[in-house]
Symmetry: C2
Subunit: 147 residues, 2 copies
């Protein structure tokens, strides 16, 4: 398979496949006489693995570790699970951070009537003045309910 075919089949762009090769995430593929990269089923399998891991938000560094474990017949599933849980906790932190932002912005936005007048609690909030008609306690503590 040429790079275009394996890119299409794996869902990883040709650009990225070359990049992954360059940073050592995947090995150097053999080349034709003309210099074209040649791929086998096994490479396609690896690229699909990478693609799935990216879809789950793993970094390339983490994927590097996952691939080592995948290739290692002696691995313990505990090692893999530990990696997954560490990533899970990272995902949870990012989700929480975004939800915190969201809730703060919702509460600012709700206090702005959005009409033709220039008075705007959103801008006032950003400028450091607490918006007048917002943040009853239960709103400011709101978490993760209605995302």
């Amino acid at each position: 398979m040429n790079i275009g075919a394996v890119a299409k089949a794996s869902g990883v762009s040709a650009k990225m496949i070359r990049h992954y090769e360059q940073i050592g995430l995947i090995g150097h593929s053999p080349r034709t006489e003309a210099g074209y990269r040649q791929y086998q089923e096994r490479d396609l399998h690896t690229l699909k693995f990478i693609r799935s891991a990216r879809d789950l938000g793993f970094s390339l560094e983490q994927i590097h570790q996952l691939l080592s474990l995948w290739y290692d017949e002696q691995r313990s599933s505990a090692e893999v699970k530990q990696l997954a849980e560490s990533h899970l906790s990272d995902l949870d932190k990012r989700i929480q951070a975004l939800i915190t932002m969201r809730d703060a912005l919702v509460s600012l936005s709700e206090s702005c009537c959005g009409d033709n007048r220039p008075d705007c609690p959103i801008l006032e909030g950003l400028a450091g003045h607490v918006p007048a008609s917002s943040s009853p306690p239960q709103l400011s503590k709101q978490k993760a309910q209605g995302v």
Copy 2:
């Protein structure tokens, strides 16, 4: 105020203040004879505004628009609110994407017992095989409940 003082007071690093000046987010400050940037209360106020907006996840491009509206006495609060809601919808999309990742990974992770043996449903899942003991329908459709 020198850049260090205004950085400390605003919570925006000196590095970033220079950067914001360079990309035109804030104006060029006057300089001392030696070339040191000089800031006033007004600039501090602006930087705090920027900092708050960054904390809410607005991009520098969006902050540029927010600042224009902030300075514009003729603005309508509707314009501000529209910007805020557009950003809110973006935040919601990002939160949903992360939650989707998280749920998929949780379901993989739960099916892995994490012991000394090499069998690992997480790796199998990434490799494209459905993990054996996972995904009863209600789990695979799970959304946003327990973040």
